[in-house]
Symmetry: C2
Subunit: 426 residues, 2 copies
């Protein structure tokens, strides 16, 4: 399948390359040409499909660098509650009743939402990652799995098995080592995990310093912050990343930098759960790469990268009391290039020849994108899911003009989800 | 024109009335029947138009209770700058070159964006309110004007003239007394304004306590906060409202309550300009009604009530360090009923017989609205402009399924806007 996307404005997200008029050619799951030019003169090339971009913007898809896709079933089920009550009385009892079939459709619901938000890859942590993988493969979604290993779910052996399996099964799926968090894993389990990390020489990911209570608990248990404690186990010898990183201190930030780790920020979730504002400006200043995630629908409650981008910029400005802090261009980089790097999707970061054809078309013919002083700022500060005109993953158009091309009707997915939810609520 | 909207879920926003299945009949610009029922049995009634709502949600349109519609031309023109530099070096020089024709199309651009966000009325403060009124009338938009009177623009005489004219010209337009802010008006001008307030026995609106610098300046000038100072002039004998109210203290809050004033919060603007987080939870606790506005596109940069609703709830949770603070139902009330009350649109608050047919249809067939545990929470926490399926004002369908019915093509408005912008940038 050879596709030509023409009559576009192109934002490749390559460093310092400005937006230009041009076209992009795709063959199979890759970009084969990026052609800056104007006008209609087409080269003598045959295509299976030609898509007129109508002067709209082609750019790399957003990378949702932290999510629990299977948690869509908990959206608006238990909001406006204190965090601990929310978890122990509402979330955990529902999760205890989950079957594989449930999770499969809950993930599919999340994928529909990702596509409508221009998200072309998700870094997913949830129970039964096999089901997440299968749901994504069926729909054509790119997914990097990581384990939510903790004292009650999964094991280091299972993680290693998943690591081998899902790094060699489908071009859409990859797998990174992970565990849920310090406070949900025993020291023994964490020590085993660190041993696996060092044997595989691989990066590892976990929830780190999400809440003040988590940090205080770790200090009581081990006399230091989660980051510092985990590092004493040799956990971060090959880098990796921390999800959230809201409550870090200078010594944590130094360690993140020393280990070459990524911070994956989740501003909507941290806001809605009142966890706090992450010190993103400090991370950027110290050269720590920041990526952006939505977290799960139970806490966020949406899977909307436009919301996250606005919040990433806005909350940094609020925290630093400085409207000039955290420019839109930086945030757009976090939502695309940095996300791909954090997820080790080295071929899905920018639009260039040889890269994966994971891209989106932004509708510039809507009022919130006008006038066009600065498209990057428009995207971050006034962009909305309404502007997603097309989402392509691995060369396949999965969403266009509000319609899905994922091999299944959304209405069928909704029915299956509602049926599972009805059973879980009994 | 008699319209039947059937097969709907209806959220009237009347106090304590839950969502029900039913239909709504409209004649002229009013709702004539609200009928809770299921199934297809239609009464023997002739309609000019019947709209199948396909089990989606009919609810009152959002009220944007503070905006500067004409400022769309500055969207993404000068972001990520310190506030004073932004105003004095970027915003004011551009505004100085504005002509009436410019403003007319800039407002039209804002109206397109309002419609796509389900906003059915706007409380607008900008230079040359006549032009804002004409643009809104032409497009069918409901607008409450207020004056941005200050030392350099307009006069108390002009305000009185506008008050008389725009409260008697069009059913779509009304006018409330207003001035820009304490710090842009001399004491003499404010005293004249207060005299007008007391002569007309009318409420009055202004930017109040938006930034810490504004409050500090007023304390230097008059030894007290802007609210307390303005009240010494007799300004609030008939109530009114404060736009922003970010930096208030207990004595300000007591005064707001004593005078029966509204607080109109603008969380996206306050976030992006790093002005601070308004103490919304305290206002609600003290019984002060809170409404929500987008502010202008120069500071926000979007005119999106979903963004504002999420931020109103989320920032209150962050500020109070309490995830249970500020429930979605309260915020939804702010965006609809309280907005109408603040704007004195007493006939546009809820869906009921005799009320204005200002309503929106929310698409529940999108992934971010599924599953349906709680529609109100879905709207506030995961809703997006993507969910606006229809916007009706005064019985006229102005936006439906992404298409506008405003007597003019959006592309024409964009062209006029870009032409003006090109001239202003010279």
């Amino acid at each position: 399948m050879k596709i030509r996307l023409y009559n576009a404005r192109v934002l490749t997200m390559e460093k310092d390359r400005p937006i230009f008029q041009g076209e992009i050619w795709v063959e199979g799951d890759r970009i084969i040409r990026v052609i800056p030019k104007q006008g209609e003169e087409q080269e003598k090339e045959k295509f299976d499909r030609e898509i007129d971009c109508e002067d709209n913007l082609l750019m790399p898809g957003f990378k949702n660098a932290h999510a629990h896709s299977g948690m869509t079933f908990l959206r608006s089920y238990a909001d406006d509650l204190p965090l601990q009550k929310w978890l122990s009385e509402k979330i955990f009892p529902m999760e205890a009743k989950l079957t594989g079939e449930d999770i499969f459709y809950f993930v599919k619901l999340a994928v529909l939402e990702y596509l409508s938000s221009g998200i072309t890859a998700v870094f997913d942590m949830y129970i039964k990652p096999d089901l997440t993988a299968h749901a994504c493969m069926e729909m054509g979604m790119r997914c990097v799995l990581t384990s939510g290993l903790n004292n009650f779910t999964s094991s280091v052996e299972a993680v290693e098995e998943e690591y081998e399996k899902w790094n060699h099964t489908s071009p859409l799926i990859s797998y990174q080592l992970g565990f849920h968090a310090e406070y949900t894993c025993s020291k023994k389990l964490l020590t085993q995990m660190a041993a696996l990390v060092n044997r595989l020489k691989a990066p590892v990911y976990a929830h780190i310093c999400e809440t003040a209570a988590e940090v205080a608990g770790c200090k009581r248990r081990y006399g230091m912050s989660p980051l510092l404690f985990l590092d004493t186990l040799g956990m971060f010898h090959y880098g990796g990343g921390g999800f959230h990183c809201v409550h870090t201190r200078p010594e944590d930030i130094s360690l993140l930098r020393k280990r070459g780790m990524y911070v994956i920020t989740n501003p909507a979730s941290n806001t809605k759960l009142a966890s706090g504002i992450a010190p993103i400006a400090q991370y950027v200043e110290k050269g720590i790469p920041v990526a952006i995630g939505t977290d799960g629908a139970a806490s966020n409650n949406s899977l909307d990268m436009f919301k996250e981008m606005f919040l990433t910029a806005g909350l940094a400005k609020l925290k630093e009391k400085n409207a000039a802090c955290m420019g839109a261009e930086e945030v757009l980089r976090m939502a695309t290039v940095n996300g791909a790097a954090a997820m080790r999707l080295t071929d899905a970061d920018v639009l260039a020849e040889g890269k994966l054809a994971d891209m989106i078309l932004i509708d510039l013919q809507m009022p919130n994108m006008r006038p066009i002083h600065n498209i990057e700022k428009n995207l971050v500060y006034s962009g909305s899911k309404q502007n997603i005109k097309m989402t392509m993953i691995g060369g396949n158009v999965l969403y266009r003009d509000g319609k899905y091309y994922v091999g299944e009707e959304p209405s069928h997915i909704y029915r299956e989800v509602e049926r599972s939810v009805a059973r879980l609520l009994q």
